[in-house]
Symmetry: C2
Subunit: 361 residues, 2 copies
């Protein structure tokens, strides 16, 4: 007669709640209540259970088992588009994540970073990792395959500036109106020849002038809205796309735009982010152009960048940390089974020293 060996994973040797309960001469249910801090268990009993746990070296209920029973894990995922390194180099993304963790940490919930490396956003990661909710932090694609996966799995989703869908709670800022305000400011100063340095319209590493076809297929909500804001004031304007939201990309674009004869050079450059604006400023400096005397440069975000030094950039200030907190709160609400409203946060124009009257022709 063959000895029937128990199947399954190798025993960990780690004590279980049942073992603790047995040692304390209570039922597992009572032990569970004790660890949950329920007031329904008598103090003396609780002490006995805790003592038994200490003797056995039991550190508390296994989070995985508890997760299964409860149906939640205490982990919320954040998608940060491209490679982590690039996301981290963007001060806005960093501040957003900070706002998110601030709220999450207060609830004992952890933040899992999901770096969707170009297109294939870690489908196997999503299939294997338990998540209570997901936040699209810096990559609001409506047709992101990850979105469908999450949906099928029943994981609630919060989108920061996209994607837009019925089942996605949207945390938004008024990119378009903000940029329009900024554009109006330039228009008031007399500027008529304006160019835009845009963040990537899609994640394909393209860089350079944007034609109508590409303009029509902008992938990112915020990028589209920031273009529209300028167009609201100036009508169609030349667009120069960058391959990523980074200072050197901004500088590269700036050189392309500014290293031309003065009579065709834009008198103002609208960068879609402060990071890109910092690059444009560097390009201007490199070309010997004075800001704002020869050219005005404006940005978006209102982050305080180390690159800028003492320069006060004219920009649109957005409440990035509030955005992060709102996203996290929405995620928590979703996990709790509520159906939170989307949020639209205000932005405001901050006039600095990088915008001035159009230079005399």
């Amino acid at each position: 007669m063959p000895h029937r060996v128990a199947p399954g994973r190798p025993p960990t040797g780690r004590p279980t709640l049942a073992a603790v309960a047995a040692r304390a001469r209570v039922s597992p249910s009572t032990a569970s209540l004790a660890f949950a801090g329920s007031p329904r268990v008598a103090p003396a009993t609780r002490d006995r259970i805790l003592a038994a746990a200490a003797e056995l070296g039991y550190a508390g209920p296994d989070p995985i088992a508890a997760s299964l029973r409860r149906g939640r894990t205490g982990v919320i995922g954040a998608f940060v588009g491209e490679r982590l390194l690039y996301a981290f180099r963007d001060p806005v993304a960093v501040q957003l994540l900070d706002g998110i963790t601030e709220v999450l940490g207060g609830h004992g919930v952890g933040l899992l970073l999901l770096a969707g490396d170009a297109g294939r956003p870690a489908a196997d990661q999503l299939a294997r990792i338990p998540l209570d909710a997901a936040i699209f932090a810096t990559c609001g694609l409506e047709d992101d395959p990850a979105l469908d996966l999450l949906r099928a799995r029943g994981v609630p989703v919060v989108g920061v500036e996209g994607p837009v869908a019925d089942d996605v709670v949207l945390i938004d800022i008024d990119d378009r109106a903000g940029t329009a305000q900024l554009a109006a400011h330039l228009h008031d100063l007399g500027h008529r020849r304006v160019a835009v340095v845009a963040m990537p319209l899609r994640l394909d590493g393209t860089r350079g002038p944007v034609d109508a076809a590409r303009r029509a297929r902008v992938h990112y909500r915020d990028v589209r809205h920031r273009i529209e804001g300028v167009e609201d004031v100036f009508g169609p304007v030349p667009l120069l796309e960058t391959a990523s939201n980074a200072v050197d990309e901004g500088e590269q674009a700036g050189r392309v735009l500014l290293d031309v004869p003065a009579d065709v050079r834009p008198t103002a450059v609208v960068a879609q982010s402060d990071v890109l604006a910092a690059g444009v400023l560097q390009a201007a400096a490199g070309l010997g152009l004075r800001v704002p005397d020869d050219v005005s440069v404006v940005g978006f975000d209102g982050a305080d960048l180390p690159w800028l030094g003492a320069v006060q950039l004219t920009t649109v200030v957005q409440p990035t940390d509030a955005k992060g907190r709102a996203a996290a709160r929405a995620a928590m609400a979703l996990v709790a089974g509520e159906r939170p409203e989307g949020v639209l946060l205000p932005v405001s124009l901050r006039v600095g020293t990088t915008s001035g009257p159009v230079p005399a022709a």
Copy 2:
């Protein structure tokens, strides 16, 4: 007779593996095998199961349940000391994390960020969140309470430059030898009056000159070793502690050190990080001191900082991304049940334009 209602969490309405199996007229075991991609299930059967799943809108096995059975979750935690925002502002921390995710992502494993807000490093987070392993990324305290928690829970731990313990796999660089090399370089150039701008010795927001008592109680391994490296060459040197590893802290410290008469001013400042060095450079510039003519400034890390512009900092280059990858690999090995060796990565002196001969007295 009361109708006995099933206890437990409210039903999700989401289909289960069992439902799929029933619909495909196979046993749950076979269905499980099919989703695991086992070659032992006949192609026709697999197709039938997948079809049933599609009809039911089943997205694949529930990660939580699978985690319980398997005993692992596919999540690895990274402790990033202080508040997330500060960690993210440190280019070295960011690059380290990038290296970690690079390896983890390749295995379909997710990275969970654990920001231990000063002292109380989210104990409830640790108790609730399932983790396969933990990496102390930028906070190697030997007496960190989180370490005990993880230990009790049986979560294997990898330490990047600490903490040191039998059950912690250490990923290290030779801070001491590297700094000693740097110090020797300065010594060769004739410098004898050298001061150190140190990263925080402990996490208590202290800033200012370090006395013997505090010197004796350095909390962080890397900080201690980088002090010792300088002392190996110069003997005891004045230490100025910063409250955090940030440019403005470096500048503040730099001003304290350099805004004194030339005959008592250090001829060389050893900053413990490139970030701090950048601050010292700013301070020097602000005081009208030329580098390296009036004062030499050196750093540590070899990160390319946007603050530096074109300046080539003399520094010790450490392979930060390799460090991250090594840490992640060690964590993966631990999860697999192996007992990986610790790693000691090499560093190298890189002489730039910020160090020069001692100025003539």
